[in-house]
């Protein structure tokens, strides 16, 4: 099966989208961008390939005469994710152990680390059960929060200092996170998941085998995003994120004429025509005040999760009037207002509005909003930002349709994948050393080979 891949290497997250033969979206993958862009790119692509196999699995099930009960595939995917998590956890444990001097391994340090990892392994069951809660989809975040919580509770009991335990994790996670993804992710994890899925319908085994054996061939990839220049792609396979966001938004919402993208470190206002071709754009200058990272600082300053900010701001009844969106002064502004007795939610609502006001200026400078409008980027997932934007767009341009896709974070990667599918393949594939004769690459190549 021929695939077209788009990769969006953003400052915060790296996203991959895979299109199938007919141009339909088969898979999506996301990971946190890290110092090693190549790894981030490989991980996101690996995740997208896994998600592609799940899509194929679902299609195959639908085509079978024997219907598969609702929830079976969800259950399988959870078990699969658990296997993935456990594999990475084992790798993490091994690296942490290696950082403990041999003479201490049987002492307090070694024992505490073993206790922590045993507990984490047990907790994985809970986390990946149907309806279980996971704060993030990234291993670093999941493992990090569990490890820190367990380390803290253990450190209170005896002489093993908390800082030492945390130091071990911080050092080890970099190593584990920067390892290229396992080569046999899908086949191995699917089989392990099935071993645990004792009451799975018998037909599922056969369908999984079929899915694993499908040869996935990356026909062409296009990269975009802030780190695009560092992607291991030839220049011809790199597109500006402005073009990719424009085309991606057009693909999601064909009537879109204006796109606002607020990412980690830049804000882009883009105008597109009826074919998704960019006609004009504006973006922030060298100062990234008021971009997504600003909210990250605020969350850190308030010691809350990034995703909690929006809902908190939505509680406001009297938004504070804030003009500055300078990230450096954000903390000071927040503390000052709190000390003056202003409510936290009112300050937050004011901060969200300030960001959107800055974006509105870019939007105006790019040509304004005249028709259907699409909001993309990480900040589009924040309800307070969305409310502020909706209000200001209506106020300035009248009541217009505003689109926000639940997959808006993948807009740029989708645009890139569409560019990949539109251009004939004449260039060598990205990372062609890995791509080799089979045309597969990265995480999935061995899975296919193994099945073949």
């Amino acid at each position: 099966m021929k695939l077209h891949v788009g990769i969006d290497l953003g400052s915060t997250t790296t996203k991959a989208v895979i299109l199938g033969d007919a141009g339909t979206i088969l898979g999506r993958g996301i990971t946190n961008s890290r110092s090693n862009y190549k790894v981030a790119c490989d991980v996101a692509l690996g995740e997208a390939l896994i998600s592609t196999r799940f899509a194929l699995l679902e299609n195959a099930c639908a085509q079978k005469g024997t219907p598969i009960a609702e929830g079976v595939l969800t259950r399988l995917e959870l078990l699969f994710r658990k296997q993935q998590f456990l594999t990475q956890l084992a790798a993490l444990a091994e690296v942490v152990r290696s950082f403990i001097p041999a003479r201490e391994r049987s002492g307090v340090a070694g024992k505490r680390v073993e206790t922590i990892f045993q507990s984490m392994e047990k907790e994985a069951d809970e986390m990946f059960r149907p309806g279980g809660h996971r704060k993030s989809d990234f291993f670093r975040d999941l493992a990090g929060s569990m490890y820190l919580r367990l380390a803290e509770s253990l450190a209170q009991k005896d002489e093993m200092p908390f800082d030492r335990l945390v130091g071990l994790f911080d050092k080890a996670i970099l190593d584990v996170e920067n390892r290229p993804p396992g080569s046999d992710n899908f086949g191995v994890h699917a089989r392990a998941a099935m071993a645990e899925f004792t009451d799975a319908p018998p037909v599922l085994h056969g369908v999984i085998m079929e899915t694993v054996s499908v040869l996935l061939e990356v026909e062409r990839s296009v990269g975009t995003g802030y780190g695009r220049a560092t992607l291991p792609f030839p220049k011809e396979q790199i597109r500006s994120e402005i073009l990719c966001h424009g085309l991606g938004a057009h693909a999601m919402f064909p009537n879109t004429r204006s796109v606002l993208d607020i990412g980690g470190q830049d804000t882009k206002a883009i105008q597109v025509d009826e074919r998704g071709i960019v006609t004009s754009f504006q973006m922030n200058d060298r100062c990234a005040a008021g971009c997504g990272r600003y909210l990250g600082y605020i969350a850190d300053e308030m010691n809350v999760g990034l995703q909690e900010l929006g809902p908190m701001a939505c509680q406001s009844t009297r938004p504070a009037r804030i003009n500055s969106t300078c990230t450096v002064f954000a903390g000071a502004e927040l503390r000052e207002r709190l000390s003056l007795g202003e409510k936290r939610e009112d300050i937050l609502a004011g901060l969200h509005r300030a960001i959107i006001l800055r974006a509105m200026s870019l939007l105006a400078r790019s040509g304004g909003v005249s028709n259907e409008f699409t909001f993309t980027g990480g900040v589009a997932r924040n309800p307070a930002a969305v409310n502020a934007l909706r209000g200001l767009v209506t106020e300035n341009y009248g009541a217009l349709t505003m689109n926000i896709s639940p997959d808006s974070i993948y807009t740029g990667a989708l645009g890139a994948a569409l560019f990949a599918s539109r251009t004939p393949s004449t260039e060598p594939l990205p990372g062609s050393d890995e791509a080799s004769a089979t045309g597969n690459r990265g995480a999935d190549s061995n899975a296919s080979k193994e099945a073949a």
Partner: protein, 427 residues
């Protein structure tokens, strides 16, 4: 940092370098030789008039941009800020003041003399006035301020011309006589103006060579070198006449051979984009900035910055038959003194005449003379020509305002947008 590579210099380049070196040496020796000098600015300057009194022009803007190209502007700006000048002030001013406070060493490493006269011949930039006010405090020397009416209605009227000629006759010339100790010599001035016109003819031929495909010149990055002599101290001299004759021959030969422009990293292989650029370049990362364009095969075929001294390609020539009138028209005809509709008209015409893919604006943070109204101009040019506009932001000589990643991102996006539109047209 862009790696420096040796590129074969053309005869004209060598000639220009010699002219500049000799000029700065004369300035450095002025305290001994007794030669007097006049500090003045680029837009609409009175070089021929100054030189007709045997006075030497010194151009603080040129010194500032040269300081930036030599990597000295950051320190100079820091010195000016230490003296109390705010971050938002025109960075040319701060760079110049910092240079002055550091011993007034010019671009060639030689010390510049104190001014014998400050001659402000363009008041369209309000900052120029303040700049000379500061220099007057510093040097305690005479100042001639020529008030230049703005072309608000899009043309120079008779009364505007008379007003400027009156100031030249009654204020500027008497002051020049006083400072130089020489009488106004109109015959000499006319000879110089005739030489100016000859050089101007050749400069226009050079700029118009960009109509060829591929363009043999880059009319922005290369253009700033071409305008150097004529916009600064050399207009009206035989040196300038020879330089422009030489340059024209070289450029016409490149056009005949269908060669593209020569960049600091060698000749450009393939012309993929033809742009018109509005606004001054960034000087602190000039080479890196140019490379961003040349790496993408983007050639600037016309620019407005190369018209800051005068818009010769639209027909203006110094006219020896009307010496003071022609100087007055020159003062009022510089690019930033044109009305916004005139600028839009000029840019739109460039896009058509030079068959450009679109207009790119480099908006300068600390220069409102240029930046005010630029986005409106962009939209109007897009509307008239149907070709896409792009917008980037940087600064003249403050390296803190140049974000390479941001500019590259926007420039590449703009070029890809042009490409995408082309693809859609041919599809």
């Amino acid at each position: 940092m862009v790696e420096k590579t040796a590129v074969q210099k053309e005869d004209s380049q060598i000639r220009q370098k010699t002219m500049i070196a000799e000029h700065y040496t004369r300035l450095a020796n002025a305290p001994d030789t007794g030669e007097k000098n006049v500090y003045t600015f680029v837009p609409g300057n009175l070089t021929e008039l100054i030189r007709s009194f045997d006075l030497l022009p010194v151009l603080p803007e040129i010194n500032a941009l040269q300081s930036a190209m030599r990597g000295k502007s950051r320190d100079y700006i820091a010195i000016a800020e230490k003296l109390g000048h705010s971050e938002d002030v025109c960075t040319y001013v701060k760079c110049d003041l910092g240079m002055m406070k550091s011993g007034n060493v010019g671009p060639t490493g030689e010390r510049l003399p104190r001014p014998d006269l400050l001659l402000l011949s363009y008041t369209g930039c309000f900052t120029f006035m303040k700049w000379f006010e500061i220099l007057r405090e510093e040097y305690d020397c005479p100042v001639a301020m020529l008030h230049v009416p703005y072309q608000a209605e899009g043309k120079i009227t008779d009364s505007m011309r008379d007003y400027v000629v009156g100031q030249l006759r009654d204020k500027v010339i008497p002051l020049l006589e006083q400072v130089s100790g020489k009488r106004y010599d109109e015959a000499r001035l006319c000879e110089m103006l005739a030489r100016s016109a000859r050089a101007e003819d050749d400069l226009v031929a050079v700029l118009n060579a960009a109509r060829h495909r591929p363009s043999p010149i880059d009319a922005y990055f290369g253009g700033v070198y071409y305008i150097g002599p004529i916009f600064s101290a050399f207009r009206g001299t035989e040196d300038a006449v020879v330089y422009y004759r030489l340059l024209r021959a070289e450029v016409e030969e490149r056009a005949r051979q269908k060669l593209g422009p020569v960049t600091p990293d060698g000749p450009m292989e393939r012309e993929r984009f033809r742009l018109v650029v509005e606004g001054p370049p960034n000087w602190t990362s000039f080479r890196e900035f140019w490379k961003m364009f040349s790496d993408e095969g983007a050639v600037v075929v016309a620019s407005t910055y190369t018209k800051v001294g005068g818009v010769y390609d639209l027909g203006f020539r110094h006219d020896p038959a009307r010496p003071l009138e022609t100087l007055a028209e020159y003062c009022m005809g510089c690019y930033t003194n044109l009305s916004l509709p005139n600028r839009v008209g000029m840019i739109s015409r460039y896009i058509e005449d030079f068959d450009a893919d679109g207009l790119l604006i480099n908006s300068i943070k600390s220069c409102n003379s240029f930046s005010a109204g630029q986005l409106m101009m962009l939209r109007e040019v897009e509307r008239r020509t149907g070709r896409p506009g792009g917008f980037i932001e940087s600064d003249l000589v403050d390296p803190r305002y140049f974000s390479a990643a941001n500019i590259k991102n926007r420039l590449e996006s703009y070029l890809q947008m042009i490409e995408q539109k082309r693809g859609a047209r041919t599809a």
